[in-house]
Amino acid sequence: MPLPIFWLFALIMLFGAAAVVLLRNPVASAMSMVASFVGLAGLFVGLNAYFAGIIQILVYAGAIMVLFIFIIMLLDLNTDKKKAPKMAPILGGLGIVIAFTIQLIGVISTTPDKGLPALDLPAAAVNFTPGTQIAKNLSANSLPDVHLIGQSLFTEYNLPLQILGVLLLVATVGVVVLSKKQS
């Protein structure tokens, strides 16, 4: 990914995130969060993580933000009280962030940098069984991102995947129990 395009997506992401914090209307915050996630998905795609970029759009910008906006509208929060903002949380937040940023710049400026290593896809094809989809795609010089992740997910990460399924079931049941009217 060329540097100008990197900065384009990075600035979309950072300005979107800043707008989430600074805008007073919760619906506007949620919308700028969608913009922030679109920028982040662009960065993911630039890092050859196509699957992660797509689930970032589908799951975050598609599903999770719809849930947020649904709850904001359900609770009718557009009648935002125009209270004067308190100084202590703002000063605390800015203080933490300035300290964090200074530390971040200090750490990054002292660590050795690393350029983007080139991916030699046809050479990597010898590591996979000839004739499989992964080997075919690699020989054709395209990265079979979803196939690689799927293969890893259902072999090496099979147990975590099933635990994750149980977690989603528990979350679903928990949400139903929590949102039932207590009588």
Partner: protein
């Protein structure tokens, strides 16, 4: 071409912005959104390291992307449960502003 430090700097800034929101905002839904921003910053770091340090077969390291997959899924479950808790909180207290939830204040 952007280097690894570019990505780490951007991810760190995104994390810092999310942390500001968690400390500064009083609307608990916006606090929750900022938590999601912080999780996404961690995801960006994982993806950057998986691409800049390829696995021995010359492809991007799939383990980092697996961790991102799991983080996104757990975050989705967390959002569902958290928003249900916020709705239950609103039903019992009629507010979602953190400075008005002072039941535990001594």
């Amino acid at each position: 071409m952007p280097t690894l430090n570019h990505y780490l700097l951007v991810a760190g800034l995104l994390f810092a912005i999310g942390l500001t929101g968690v400390v500064m905002r009083r609307n608990i839904i916006v606090v929750f959104m900022c938590l999601e921003l912080m999780l996404s910053a961690a995801n960006l770091t994982l993806i950057a390291f998986s691409r800049f340090y390829p696995s021995p077969n010359g492809l991007p390291d799939v383990h980092g992307q697996m961790l991102v997959f799991f983080v996104v899924t757990v975050a989705a479950a967390e959002v569902a449960v958290g928003l249900a808790i916020i709705v239950a909180l609103y039903r019992s207290r009629q507010t979602i502003y953190t400075d008005e939830l002072t039941t535990l204040k001594g």
